[in-house]
């Protein structure tokens, strides 16, 4: 994995970028935090934030010309936050006695400060704190400069005197009534290690660097109004502080220019959309300054400008309290450590790989791609926890084994002869289709693995429909497209699977694949772009719906698009056309089509982190009061388990009279296996009229399973065939424990890399299951 590229992507994320207010504040008060503290009435914490960033905060907090307010995003929705009024309130309610700081020994060099106004005092105090010996030269008889103009205009004389006294109390030399001219300046430059010039005017023109304030290559630094050329108080203070930083860097012999791009006012790369927020007008003051309640209410209007677009859409990022920039740092750490715990594993396996984040991000940052690449890297380095995806990968192996997998050409005309003479059947589209058979497979129906597992009875009907409606022979191919391997980051396995599909495609002379599963579509587009594909749903739109009388109760449905279809807008439209044709109303969800969310199955999160999967389910089903309409088997399964009435498109196209389709529980993990095998049997017997070589595996023991144990079997990803195998071994070899007090048996069997345990009781010829569980750790019995 290219970690430099990874970090670069993380750095592009603007989540942590400052809001406009802070970027335009010359001293970068952390305004979001400041306002959050005020909102919570933590005035003292707010005060500390002012103290941290503002020189002479007690003065500036009262007279700042607040450039932050002009750019406040709130201005577009009711009016800027009254930040400067809130600063005044905080000075009133949050002041506390500062801790005594012990001055550093003054051994770092001598600096002269010319001009005792705000910028000069700021530079003086900052450098004094760092251990420089300071002398202030002021032409008048008092410090403070134009701050005196603010007496009775925001400041009291007492306050100003008090603040000036704090300067005088420090160990600096203060020379009043000492005007400096060019000749004196020359002398100071030789006498001192550096000189700061903070007078509003100077007799001759000077040339300084606009980011370091150094005058040419000399030891002279400038600041204050001479540089800012404005009346702005806060700009003056900021320039004094920045010049002090330059002096410190210069005298410490480090680069003057390194990483200073964001000093002073800068343009933040943050993009923030206020449009979703309702307009709120500013809170009026009832007195001279905000009272504490008013202050808190005013601060509450701040919308805390920050990019959270992807996070708002994704319950995975929210569950782990991760922004993409932080996520990237965690991955980077996890990829670099060799010894020690990889704490991020669980998180990395909890992403649904649904791609919504990229869709939401105006910078196209795709956590999906990053996380996927990380999984591949984990597998490659042997760091992928085996337990995360084991079950799904075994399920995939099952689907590609002879128990499900099947490839057949359309039954030939020759083989179907008998059907053509039978008057009734010969009217069916299917038989007409067979009659037109050419022997060349133009299409291959590939229903995937989950649709046959969930809708075993419909696969034959769909196949017959296709033969009857499509021009050209339609063959069938049963198997798994490899989506589990892709999600699990198993590149080698994925490639193997892709090659196997390609081989069938070549052998069949490159037919178009007809796909019904959204995951298959995604996988074919990603790994098999050379194979032409058509979606079953598109074909229904084009060729007409299979049955005539579907509609039961017309109602309004909300369509949940499978996340794998995100980029497939034609498919979205086809599905909507079918639903409308069937007579249902449609109400779109907020997150729909290319902005759809994952049902909770994607990325195998269902197996890797069930809580996270449930969070996806619950968030999605909570989005609408309407019944949902889905067209992916797993979406249906998860939503119904979450308690939401959900139709699969096939429920409507091939209605069954076996109860409410919208609440019908989907098959268990074992039933899914069983159903797939059954589909193969049905097709072989009824379409190809062959006797299957393999017979369905019948259960050897009759089991009685209480509901709570049924649930455990599902939650713990245990198959009935595992249970049967444990029982068989226990019964045949007596390998089991027995509890005479309860009459219970406990037996174990290691199958592949898992040990399964079954606790049971015998009753006549049946076994009552008491519990089942498993572990992956191997016990050496010796």
């Amino acid at each position: 994995m290219n970690l430099d590229k990874l970090l670069e992507t993380g750095d592009r994320c603007i989540h942590k970028e400052p809001p406009t207010c802070t970027a335009q504040c010359p001293v970068h008060l952390e305004i979001i935090d400041f306002l959050a503290e005020v909102e919570k009435s933590n005035f003292q914490n707010a005060y500390k934030l002012m103290e941290k960033k503002m020189p002479f905060h007690k003065i500036i907090g009262r007279i700042c010309d607040h450039p932050c307010e002009a750019v406040c995003e709130r201005n577009k929705a009711g009016g800027s936050i009254r930040i400067s009024e809130l600063e005044k309130a905080v000075l009133e309610y949050g002041t506390y006695k500062p801790k005594k700081v012990w001055p550093l020994p003054k051994n770092k060099g001598k600096v002269a400060i010319i001009g005792g106004g705000l910028s000069g005092l700021t530079a003086a105090v900052d450098l004094d704190k760092k251990g420089y010996t300071i002398t202030i030269y002021e032409k008048s008889d008092r410090l403070g400069g134009r701050l005196w103009d603010f007496v009775d205009k925001g400041l009291t004389e007492a306050l100003l005197q008090e603040e000036i006294k704090t300067v005088k109390d420090k160990k600096m030399a203060i020379q009043l009534e000492k005007p400096i001219d060019e000749v004196r300046l020359e002398a100071l430059l030789t006498e001192y290690d550096a000189v700061y010039l903070g007078t509003a005017t100077w007799e001759s023109p000077l040339k300084w660097n606009s980011s370091t304030f150094q005058v040419e290559a000399s030891t002279l630094f400038v600041g204050g109004q001479l540089v800012t050329k404005t009346e702005s108080i806060i700009a003056s203070a900021s320039s004094g502080r920045r010049a002090a930083i330059s002096i410190e860097r210069y005298l410490s012999k480090v680069s003057l220019t390194d990483s200073r791009e964001r000093e002073g006012v800068f343009d933040t790369p943050l993009h923030f959309e206020i449009s979703k927020h309702v307009a709120l007008p500013p809170i009026e003051k009832s007195g001279e300054i905000y009272n504490p309640e008013e202050a808190s209410a005013e601060a509450a209007r701040c919308v805390k400008c920050q990019c959270r677009k992807c996070i708002e859409g994704c319950v995975h990022l929210r569950n782990f309290e991760m922004s993409p920039d932080a996520y990237v740092r965690q991955i980077n750490h996890s990829e670099r450590i060799i010894l020690g715990t990889h704490y991020a594993n669980k998180m990395i396996n909890s992403c649904a790989e649904c791609g919504l984040c990229k869709e939401e991000c105006f910078l196209d940052i795709s956590m999906n791609d990053i996380i996927h690449e990380t999984r591949e890297s984990m597998v490659e380095r042997g760091k992928m926890p085996a337990s995360a995806h084991d079950f799904a990968l075994k399920d995939m192996a099952f689907s590609n084994s002879s128990r499900f997998s099947l490839v057949r050409k359309q039954p030939s005309k020759e083989e179907s002869k008998d059907l053509f003479y039978y008057p009734l059947i010969s009217f069916s589209d299917y038989v007409k289709g067979l009659y037109k058979g050419t022997g060349k497979t133009e299409y291959l129906f590939y229903p995937g693995c989950q649709l046959p597992a969930s809708y075993p009875d419909d696969i034959k009907s769909i196949y017959e429909y296709l033969v009857g409606h499509i021009k050209g022979d339609v063959g069938i191919y049963l198997g798994c497209c490899g989506a589990p391997a892709d999600w699990a980051g198993q590149q080698a396995l994925m490639n193997e699977n892709v090659e196997a599909i390609k081989k069938v495609w070549e052998e069949m002379e490159r037919p178009t694949f007809i796909l019904a599963c959204s995951s298959c579509i995604r996988i074919f587009k990603k790994y098999l772009p050379e194979i032409a594909i058509a979606s079953l749903w598109d074909i229904y739109v084009e060729k007409g719906l299979p049955n005539k009388d579907h509609i039961k109760t017309p109602q309004t449905l909300s369509i949940h698009d499978a996340c794998g279809t995100r980029e497939n807008s034609d498919l979205h439209e086809s599905v909507r056309k079918i639903v409308a044709k069937l007579g249902y109303g449609i109400e779109e969800l907020e997150y729909t089509k290319d902005r759809t969310k994952c049902c909770g199955y994607g990325g195998l999160v269902y197996y890797a982190n069930r809580d996270q999967s449930n969070a996806f389910v619950n968030e999605r089903i909570g989005e609408s009061e309407n019944d949902l309409l889905v067209y992916c088997a797993m979406c249906k399964d998860l939503f119904v388990s979450g308690g939401k009435r959900t139709y699969h498109l096939l429920d409507l196209l091939y209605p069954k009279d076996d109860g409410e389709a919208a609440t019908r529980k989907m098959p268990t993990l074992s039933e899914r296996h069983h159903n797939r095998s059954r589909v193969k049997q049905i097709l072989l017997k009824e379409i190809w009229r062959e006797e299957p070589e393999e017979t369905m595996r019948e259960d050897q023991f009759k089991l009685i399973i209480p509901d709570d144990v049924k649930q455990k079997i599902e939650d713990r990803y245990i198959l009935m065939e595992d249970i049967q195998a444990v029982l068989q071994n226990a019964e045949e070899n007596n390998e089991r424990f027995c509890n005479p007090e309860t009459g219970e048996y406990l037996a174990r069997l290691r199958r592949d890399n898992v040990t399964f345990w079954v606790k049971y009781e015998k009753e006549e010829n049946a076994f009552i299951l008491k519990s089942v569980y498993s572990h992956r750790m191997e016990i050496v019995e010796e």
Binding site: N345, P385, R748, H775, M777, I779
Partner: protein, 68 residues
Amino acid sequence: MKHESTDQTKWYCDKCQRELELAKVKVKYMEGNFEVDLMKCPSCNQVFIDETLALGKMKEVEEGLEDK
């Protein structure tokens, strides 16, 4: 990972009809290889793991090793 089940005394090996005894047992997972005290049949060596152990401590250790 020492473990003493709450009801282990009542269980015995059905194959050998013997009571279980606490013994040092080797367990392996990924790169991890260690010995723990578990109940087992002294004659056929079947080791008894109850549900609390399998889903509690054992799972924890498995996860710990998987994240190494």
